[in-house]
């Protein structure tokens, strides 16, 4: 493993971890799904470097491709698909819960 | 003959795959596929039990000798559980014919196959796969039972069991990185040198919590009351009666074969005690029958965890006695809850409407409490003697909690029995009182007969369980059977 590979691994690790944090913190559900599909993508690249081509292919096809598609379709049917949400709440930070607005 | 032992595991899968196609052409043929497969599975396993030698054996799948391949390990305990799975699958078969029959029956077949796999498999990761299959099939069956609350309880169960599966995978990764193998026998061989350390303890704890989700272990059992309250009685009975015991079986095997650390045992003891306390108190406060049964099930499993924490073979005997006793009783009680599922208050005077159901309920309750001639007494007595023989103060706490829990149990069960036999409320005529459905009542009576039979033949049953426990506790036997006596291509 060369020094270049080490740097790549470090960058990928950073990307994956920050994407994972993004998933939890970001306000918009569409953005969260997008961030959630970056995680398997980064992992797939990591798996290539870790000499696991089979796993990398599966992770890319299933984790990054299929699973994002499933989540996106679900978002559409859940009615959460809105690119620039004005009224969406943050996920972790407490705000007035949205259900009361429905009442 | 012994080669055929793979069939009870594989045929239900085969049937499940084909069922949607067959149902498309003919529902009347399709409706018989599942019961036929399960009956055949019962026959194979029963035949093995009767004709088989007393020695356990191992079956290499794919002909690859363990530890390279996956093997099934069949001893008396595994055989007993596998037989119970097939039989209960048959008893709790979803006969209802409607638009979704094919899917529901296919899921039930998958559940049976996966449970059989849990009973027989001798490979850690293979156990994980079957465990997940059990999980997915149950999510479907719970959600299929209808109401909106069923969906909500299913998603809660799904998320908890997702946490559990992540932790289990983590534990498996830790074990593999340390030992390089996943075969239970091979692990048992390597464990004294390689897993008797902090890493091994961490791996055990993660797997304990992960598998504990299904075994209704204390901190991860919050799904239990809602799921049992919303799923159909048959599904609840299968989950509470059998699936929780199979998760327990995994923990038992891991504990006996691989993890011998005293800390592991202490953690289990503490979690078991907490489970007993929380479960029994909540059951006492519960206001509807299903939730009362669910909480009582948490308490009972806590007792089994306490018994698991007793290191000797006697502890194992207590575990088995409590396990099979609870299997019979809880399955039967949930069948009664099929008609009596609502609020406890509404059951006032229900004995007049359905005397048989009330009698069976009293029989089960007395055995659950531990009334002397019934098997429950014998099971609890075994545990008490074993606990009293331990010196560590933690076990004495366990004993105290256990006795207290029995008192609470008696309080809420007898309260309900008194309600059943009490006078009906003034303004309700007898005919409007709830009554368990005919089929469920018949199934419950079967369990009642089984319980009475066990009470009559308590001595041979005890001998049998002792023999089973002896075989299960014998680590060397397990290692030698799997690693030497396989008929694979070596």
């Amino acid at each position: 493993m060369t020094e270049i590979e080490l740097w790549i691994v470090m960058l990928l690790a950073l990307m994956v971890l920050s994407a994972a944090v993004m998933v939890l913190l970001v306000k918009n559900h569409v953005a969260a799904v997008a961030a959630a599909s970056v995680v398997p993508l980064g992992l797939a690249l990591l798996f290539v470097l870790m000499r696991a081509p089979d796993v990398a292919m599966t992770e890319a096809a299933v984790g990054a491709g299929l699973s994002s598609l499933i989540l996106a379709l679900a978002l559409r049917r859940l009615g959460l698909w809105q690119i620039d949400g004005v009224k969406t709440r943050t996920n972790l930070i407490k705000t007035q819960s949205e259900g009361h607005r429905n009442a | 003959m012994s080669d055929l032992i793979v069939l009870p595991l594989v045929l239900p899968l085969f049937g499940a795959f084909l069922l949607p196609i067959v149902m498309r052409t003919s529902i009347s043929i399709g409706a018989w596929i599942g019961p036929a497969i399960l009956a055949y599975g019962c026959w194979i396993l029963g035949d093995q039990w009767i004709s088989g030698t007393t020695l356990p054996f191992s079956l290499a799948i794919g002909g690859f000798a363990p530890p390279m391949g996956i093997n099934l390990y069949i001893d008396s305990l595994a055989l007993l559980f596998a037989f119970a799975v097939q039989l209960l699958g048959l008893l709790f078969w979803p006969f209802k014919i409607d638009q979704e029959t094919a899917r529901r029956q296919a899921l039930m077949l998958l559940l049976v196959a996966a449970s059989t796999g849990l009973a027989l498999s001798g490979d850690l990761f293979n156990l994980y796969v079957f465990y997940e299959l059990v999980a997915v099939a149950t999510f479907g069956l719970i959600a299929a039972s209808g109401g909106s609350a069923a969906y909500a309880s299913a998603i809660r169960y799904l998320i908890l069991s997702g946490i559990g599966s992540v932790l289990t995978l983590l534990g498996i990764a830790l074990i593999y990185s340390q030992t390089g193998t996943l075969n239970l026998a091979h692990l048992a061989q390597l464990a004294p040198e390689q897993l008797n350390n902090k890493l091994g303890l961490t791996a055990f704890l993660t797997i304990l919590i992960g598998v504990g989700v299904k075994a209704e272990l204390f901190p991860v059992n919050t799904w239990v009351p809602e799921v049992y309250a919303t799923a159909t009685s048959r599904v609840s009975a299968f989950l509470a009666g059998l699936v929780s015991k199979l998760a327990l079986l995994i923990i038992l095997r891991l504990l006996v074969l691989i993890f011998h650390q005293p800390e592991a045992i202490q953690v289990m003891l503490v979690l078991g005690i907490l489970g007993v306390i929380s479960g029994e108190l909540a059951a006492w406060r519960a206001k509807d029958m299903r939730r009362m049964l669910a909480f009582s099930s948490i308490g009972q499993l806590g007792m089994i965890f306490i018994a698991l924490a007793i290191p000797e073979q006697g502890g194992l005997l207590a575990v088995l006695a409590l396990t099979f006793h609870h299997l019979l009783i809880k399955s039967g009680l949930f069948m009664l809850a099929d008609g009596w599922g609502g609020a406890i208050e509404k059951l006032r005077g229900a004995a007049k409407r359905s005397p048989l159901a009330a009698a069976i309920f009293v029989l089960f309750s007395l055995s659950l409490i531990g009334m002397p001639p019934l098997p429950g007494f014998w099971a609890k007595f075994t545990l008490i003697t074993q606990l009293a023989a331990q010196t560590s103060p933690l076990y004495l706490i366990g004993l105290t909690v256990f006795l207290l829990a029995t008192v609470i149990e008696a309080a809420y069960l007898l309260r309900l029995a008194a309600l059943l036999y009490g006078p009906a409320a003034k303004d309700t005529p007898i005919d409007t009182l709830a009554k368990p459905a005919g089929l469920s009542l018949a199934t419950a009576s079967l369990f009642g007969i089984g319980l009475l039979a066990a009470a009559l033949f308590i001595a041979p049953v005890g001998d049998l369980l002792n023999h089973v426990a002896g075989q299960a506790a014998n680590t060397d036997l397990y290692i030698n059977t799997v690693l030497a006596g396989t008929g694979g291509s070596q």
Partner: protein, 159 residues
């Protein structure tokens, strides 16, 4: 020559970080959809951990390219297991979102505490018992927000 230890540490921290972030997300999230997403992240971390368990620094992928002598390979067994685990994970995720779709239709919300409230209310309702408010107090004493009527457009706009 770069130090071995740091690479090992990076991968290991990534795996554990993903698991921790994912599990924390599941525990903390207020929205059921985020919980499903977080679960996926934790599973990805567990998968990385499993691949890591069979990884050797000096080895090639476990595919024979030449007959006869071959250089050392990484352990194929964990890779096979991860293949299985990935597909299992996506199956469970698909099932989870389809249940979420139904919950959203029935309850009109995916907020965790609201769904739990409604579920409790419904169970108590079907069992026809007065609701046990003391357990969930003060939440239980609050009147439930009404379910938006069925004309709410499920697909598309925010209700």
């Amino acid at each position: 020559m770069m130090p071995d230890i740091s690479l090992e540490l990076i991968l290991y921290t990534t795996a554990l970080g993903l698991i921790s972030i994912g599990l924390a997300g599941v525990v903390l999230s207020r929205h059921l959809f985020r919980m499903v997403l977080a679960l996926g992240i934790a599973e990805a971390g567990a998968n990385l951990m499993l691949v890591l368990a069979g990884y050797r620094w000096d080895a090639v992928a476990p595919i024979l390219t030449t007959l006869g002598e071959h250089p050392p390979m990484v352990d194929p067994v964990p890779q096979a297991m991860v293949l299985t685990a990935i597909v299992i994970g996506v199956g469970i995720q698909a099932l989870a979102v389809s249940i979420l779709i139904r919950i959203r239709q029935r309850y009109g919300t995916l907020d965790r505490s609201q769904v739990v409230e409604r579920m409790d209310a419904e169970i108590a309702d079907t069992a026809s018992i007065p609701r046990d408010v003391s357990q969930e107090s003060p939440l239980g004493e609050r009147p439930l927000p009404s379910i938006p009527d069925s004309t709410v457009e499920i697909r598309g706009g925010h209700s």
